[in-house]
Symmetry: C2
């Protein structure tokens, strides 16, 4: 067991019908609500009206900030920061998936700061304070609803950066699996892959893979995702499938999984960020391409971890068979597993590696993850 | 998956050497520290001096409250409340096992209240505020370091009652497994049994035992305890064994295990409280007697859960074999598994059942757990 620090103060309300507590919950944090959402799907599903009704019932004043993109962008975030400052809002309500919650977190930090919000991402400034955040999750995967991290893309710099800061833990997150019934098959798959890799990256990089408790918790989550993702895709309104995926996603990056196994390290995520920054593909799709390649590259260096992974997650007796089973599962979810399958030109590997190296430096991984190593991993994605 | 609410804001510092952050951590909460400890073992091991040094280095003023008994008693708790009020302390530091932490929690609540502290236990009053609590754990088992619950014995009323209240979550808990190297074999065993049953009671009572994530997390913890408790008893300075037991104990009652499986219910604990209140035996010893009997009594009513328990925790194909394997494991730890083995007279079953029924009523379980049902379970302890 490795030493660790664990802290996660998010209150989770999980299950059918929990949204009836939303208005009262938001009202605990103030009178003026900054309501952040995405491209309008919550209007089509009726969730927007339901949320507004909850807020109005409590007599809350609402300032809207819709239009958050998948892979949320800095310019829209900056707009949000300015609006939140100008309107002097008390609390941020994010209704959406990880992108919406991430932009909401950036706004929560920016609204309480003097500096430009991007300074936090380049680790030039530290978040000392933030507006309180309440979330309603509608797409599972990133785990942002139960952690203090966020990722934003700087369109000018073509940089997709992330960081974490404890003031950015949501105060309360509402997790109603029925809200994900309308998530289409591809996004369901990408979310499942994102959550799975939040665990598998830590697992396969674990400094102490023999620590029974974190290993068992991580295996539990990975096996549940492997089992339930195909069900959710086939039967979008299967409550059990949606519920297991939702709770797995939240736990995956909550911090509880790696306690005792080592630190959080996300090398495949680091490389993937460049794919979605440069080619605007879904984060989960990029992960499906990079993660098996990363595993193949690390076969010798992480042999013990990968043997456990093969045996305990996929019931296979060798690392190669384990990675193959993983890749077959990804294919069964209709995820791309090669660069070409996502229309990313093989000739641009050098450019991708250069881009990824920026984040490797920022995340303090560049001792091992040099441009050359990243290139070698990307070559295994061909 | 059942609906749930989850919240646990405790900061955990886990591992060798984490105590070097103790002084600074306590100082965050004020200048005057109420230092609660037990019967003096921390003086023999040198931990007392180490703690005092940390506090003095920060220039903190210390008010001591030693002498907390195993199965902490109300009179000593009331003394603590008076002293803490009179001295106007800012923060409570509990150094010890579950008993010390539980009494510290009661004092933290009592010091901020007008009512008598026992009123909280009889659920006549609600804890609205409490002094901040920092803990240093020296004996694993109760999980009090990572939850908001506590148990105190009212010696006059011969009542061992417990309750939980969110202001009583410790702010920070220091978990250094090396501090448990000196815990004797019997207490190591009883702590392991306590932690195990915090999980097994929830597991075997689960409303939805088919929910994969909570079931997997609970199985992980139970299997780790089954594996590592005998090792810790045989090799008291085995770091891995102590570390796994410590983290398992903390997680067991932290709330994370039953999310999605159903609510926390502790019927064997409810009955056991009467054994330790009436005969002053160790809580873990009482649990080793009552829990297998409870399982036998519930064989039909909880057949699905007990089949999973037999198969997934002990690798057995029938409920009977599973309970037998559990009982054999308890025997291997030198725990009593019958009333006579703890010198509790069989003729007093009626008296014990009457006593347990008080708590059955207080905990809202008396619809099913009537005096007669409790008697039937106790008869299976003979």
């Amino acid at each position: 067991m490795k030493n660790f620090r664990y802290y996660n103060p998010v209150t989770i309300h999980f299950g059918k019908g929990v949204l009836n507590k939303l208005g009262r919950t938001v009202a605990r944090f103030g009178k003026k609500v900054f309501f952040v959402y995405g491209m309008g799907s919550i209007k089509r599903t009726g969730l927007y009206d339901k949320v507004m009704e909850q807020l109005k019932e409590q007599g809350l004043e609402v300032v809207e900030h819709g239009g958050v993109k998948p892979n949320p962008i800095l310019s829209h975030t900056r707009e949000g920061v300015e609006k939140a400052k100008k309107e002097k809002v008390d609390v941020i309500l994010a209704v959406g998936g990880g992108s919406v919650i991430d932009e909401a977190k950036a706004i929560a930090a920016g609204a309480k700061a003097e500096c430009d919000v991007w300074d936090f991402f380049e680790l030039k400034e530290v978040v000392k304070d933030a507006l309180p955040i309440v979330t309603v999750l509608t797409i599972t995967g990133t785990g942002s609803e139960m952690n203090a991290g966020l990722v934003i893309t700087n369109e000018e710099k073509k940089a997709k950066f992330g960081f974490r800061a404890e003031p950015l833990f949501p105060k309360v997150s509402f997790l109603d699996p029925t809200l994900t019934f309308t998530v289409p098959a591809d996004q369901t798959a990408y979310g499942a892959v994102d959550a799975f890799t939040h665990v598998s990256e830590v697992y396969c990089n674990a400094e102490d893979i023999d620590a029974d408790v974190p290993r068992g918790i991580m295996e539990t989550i990975m096996k549940s995702i492997v089992k339930w993702a195909p069900v959710a895709i086939k039967e979008p309104e299967n409550y059990e499938a949606r519920a297991e995926l939702m709770w797995c996603s939240s736990l995956a990056l909550s911090g509880i999984t790696w306690c005792g196994a080592g630190d959080l390290t996300l090398p495949a995520h680091m490389i993937e960020h460049s794919l979605s920054a440069l080619y605007d593909i879904a984060h989960g799709a990029g992960l499906a391409i990079v993660t098996p390649a990363w595993m193949r590259y690390m076969k010798e260096k992480r042999s013990e971890q990968l043997e456990y992974f093969a045996r305990n997650v996929f019931g296979k007796n060798s690392i190669d068979e384990g990675i193959e089973a993983f890749e077959n599962w990804l294919r069964s979810l209709n995820c791309p597993v090669r660069l070409s399958e996502a229309n990313i030109p093989e000739e641009e590997i050098d450019k991708i590696a250069e881009n990824a190296y920026m984040l490797s430096v920022t995340w303090g991984m560049s001792d091992f993850y040099t441009v050359n190593v990243i290139k070698e991993i990307l070559k295994l994605c061909v």
